[in-house]
């Protein structure tokens, strides 16, 4: 391997490892959200419940795009290297502090500090991606930008995979009680070691050659925000990048990776270890395709691949999610054995009432198992209202369904690899070097943080509309991806690389 090739791989690994850690840090909070709510945001307290909602919505919707502006500006003035080093330190520090935070029961200010740290995490994430993508792209030869930047694109999915793997490993190693008491802190504390290693690696790297050249010639932008968003010639491309690419990419990314997980867990009632393990396998199997489509985009152009991924998602989402539902549906299964137990407890919300809990353990002929827990109000039963006040179902599928289900999730993630693999190179090539970090970061984080982040909220909204069913929530990502596809097809050019000097 010659020295320039060695150098580019050093650049890719230094950037990718750091970005992966940032995604890991961001995801562990999301993956442990239910537990963290109990520790820091008890729902019985209206103030902490309010703070929990704020942590969920503000971190993605407001702070990420804001971080893109703050760090994007910094990166275009000070340089890429120091800016994305700073975002890594901020992210690692706040994640570590979350792991150290005493719970609400022993420290009343904990919910406020957790909220603050979560917002800081969102801010750092908003600055990291643009820096890493720009840094790698500016080191890469023009004809290999798609391939080299696609390594950065693998980090978001790998970050999710690593976070799931770390949490599952700790959960399996510790007892349920130990994990609930203190084990949940380990994924957060572990982050600090990874961050320190990554900081050391990044410190040794040089500034991007394109930025250094610009700086030595005194041509860096003095006001990147103004040049990016106040000048029509650049603003129109920021808008095109958002509405013709990142908006659709964001919803496809979110739907295939996160909504699929929620759909399996909540709508299908699939057991959580099975859901997370199979999702993890599908993510791992699909990850090389980020690199493949990045490489392919150098050969045939970025637009065709991204638009193809978006169109496939629009067409296939409903059939694939329907298939996932059918695999988990117990209607077509034949019952082999069943045991029913009932218990009684005081209704915590109404002292004069009691709750009758009926637990059915059903084993089907194909070895799948259903655990159905129905809760009845004794008070209502006495006046002949026989409908349960709460029903929880949990299906554990027979192992024979494993590859079938992984296959469908794999196809969903494949759509992500098509839209996401080439997008870093696409965004980098859309903007000039001196305002690149600022200009590309904002559409990326609005597309992913806002349009992508809205998927669960709008999906819930749609499912509450009259006449909706379990697939109705998909109309939001399908609609957004369809609009983005039309805009992309009509207004983006298929030329693979901008001819001007980047």
């Amino acid at each position: 391997m010659n020295s320039s090739k060695k150098q580019i791989w050093k650049v890719i690994s230094a950037s990718s490892v750091g970005t992966l850690i940032e995604w890991y840090d961001f995801y562990i909070f999301g993956s442990l959200a239910t537990l963290l709510s109990e520790k820091f945001f008890p729902s019985t307290n209206p103030t902490t419940a309010f703070l929990a909602t704020l942590a969920t919505f503000a971190a993605g919707f407001i702070v990420r795009p804001f971080g893109a502006l703050v760090f994007g500006r910094l990166g275009d003035i000070v340089g890429r290297k120091y800016t994305f080093l700073l975002t890594l330190i901020i992210m690692g520090g706040s994640t570590f502090l979350i792991g150290c935070m005493p719970t609400y029961q022993s420290f009343a200010l904990a919910p406020y500090l957790i909220l603050l740290l979560r917002l800081v995490q969102g801010l750092a994430l908003g600055g990291e991606y643009g820096g890493a993508a720009t840094y790698v792209a500016e080191h890469a030869p023009i004809n290999k930008r798609g391939y080299y930047t696609s390594w950065i694109q693998t980090t978001a999915t790998l970050g999710l995979f690593v976070s799931l793997a770390v949490i599952l490993t700790i959960q399996k190693t510790l007892s349920k009680e130990a994990f609930y008491d203190w084990g949940w802190r380990l994924p957060f504390l572990l982050s600090i070691f990874l961050v320190i290693i990554s900081i050391v690696i990044r410190m040794k790297m040089d500034e991007s050659p394109m930025f250094s050249k610009l700086k030595s010639e005194g041509k860096i932008s003095t006001n990147p925000l103004k040049e990016s968003f106040a000048k029509k010639d650049n603003l129109k491309f920021v808008l095109l990048a958002l509405f013709g690419a990142t908006m659709g990419q964001g919803v496809v990314w979110y739907t295939s990776q996160f909504y699929a997980q929620t759909f399996l867990l909540k709508t299908c009632g699939l057991e959580s270890t099975q859901t997370n393990t199979w999702l993890g396998i599908a993510l791992l199997l699909a990850t090389p395709f980020f690199v493949f489509f990045g490489w392919l985009s150098d050969k045939i152009g970025r637009k065709g691949i991204m638009m193809c991924g978006m169109l496939l998602a629009v067409i296939c989402y409903r059939p694939i999610f329907k298939k996932l539902y059918e695999i988990c549906d117990v209607k077509n299964r034949i019952e082999a054995t069943s045991t029913i137990t009932t218990s009684k407890k005081i209704n915590p919300n109404k002292a004069i009432d009691s709750l009758i809990i009926k637990t059915s353990n059903i084993v089907f002929t194909d070895s799948s198992k259903l655990l159905l827990t129905e809760t009845y109000s004794l008070e209502k039963l006495q006046i002949n209202i026989n409908t349960p006040i709460d029903t929880k179902k949990q299906i554990t599928l027979a192992s024979s369904y494993q590859w079938n289900l992984i296959g469908y999730i794999f196809i969903l993630v494949l759509f992500v690899t098509m839209v996401y693999g080439p997008i870093a190179a696409f965004l980098v090539e859309l903007f000039p070097t001196k305002i690149r970090y600022t200009s590309m970061s904002l559409p990326y984080h609005i597309g992913n943080g806002v349009f992508g982040g809205l998927v669960p909220f709008i999906a819930t909204l749609i499912t509450l509309m009259p006449g909706s069913n379990y697939l109705s929530g998909l109309w939001y990502p399908i609609g957004v991806a369809a609009i983005c596809f039309v805009i992309g097809i009509l207004y983006l050019s298929s030329k693979s690389v901008k001819s001007e000097s980047q």
Binding site: F50, T53, L54, T56, F57, A58, F61, I62, P65, K232, L235, K236, F237, L239, L240, L242, F243, G301, R302, K303, F426, E429, L430, I446, V450, L454, F457, T460, L461, L464, I483, V486, I487, L490, Y491, L492, S493, S494, K495, S496, V497, K498
Partner: protein
């Protein structure tokens, strides 16, 4: 083709206005004092509408640029 592309600008402006209208109307319809879901709470709606308003304005501006023929010649990449 350029004419169709140009006049689709009106559609994008309409979509931007309609999306914002849909959000505000949904917020009014779904915020409930005793609701337990996120869509029943005012805070998520406030954040979403505050964030989405400039995005919607951006989409209107995009539609306006399209209508003015700013994207007639093929864009970069």
């Amino acid at each position: 083709m350029n004419t169709i592309k140009k006049y689709l600008g009106i559609v994008w402006i309409f979509v931007a206005v309609a999306a914002l209208f849909f959000l505000v109307q949904s917020a009014i319809h779904n915020i409930k004092p005793n609701g337990t879901l996120d869509i029943n709470k005012p805070m998520p709606w406030a954040i979403i509408i505050i964030v989405f308003t400039p995005i919607s304005l951006g989409f209107m501006l995009f539609g306006w640029y399209v209508l003015k023929g700013e994207f007639d010649t093929e864009a970069i990449n």
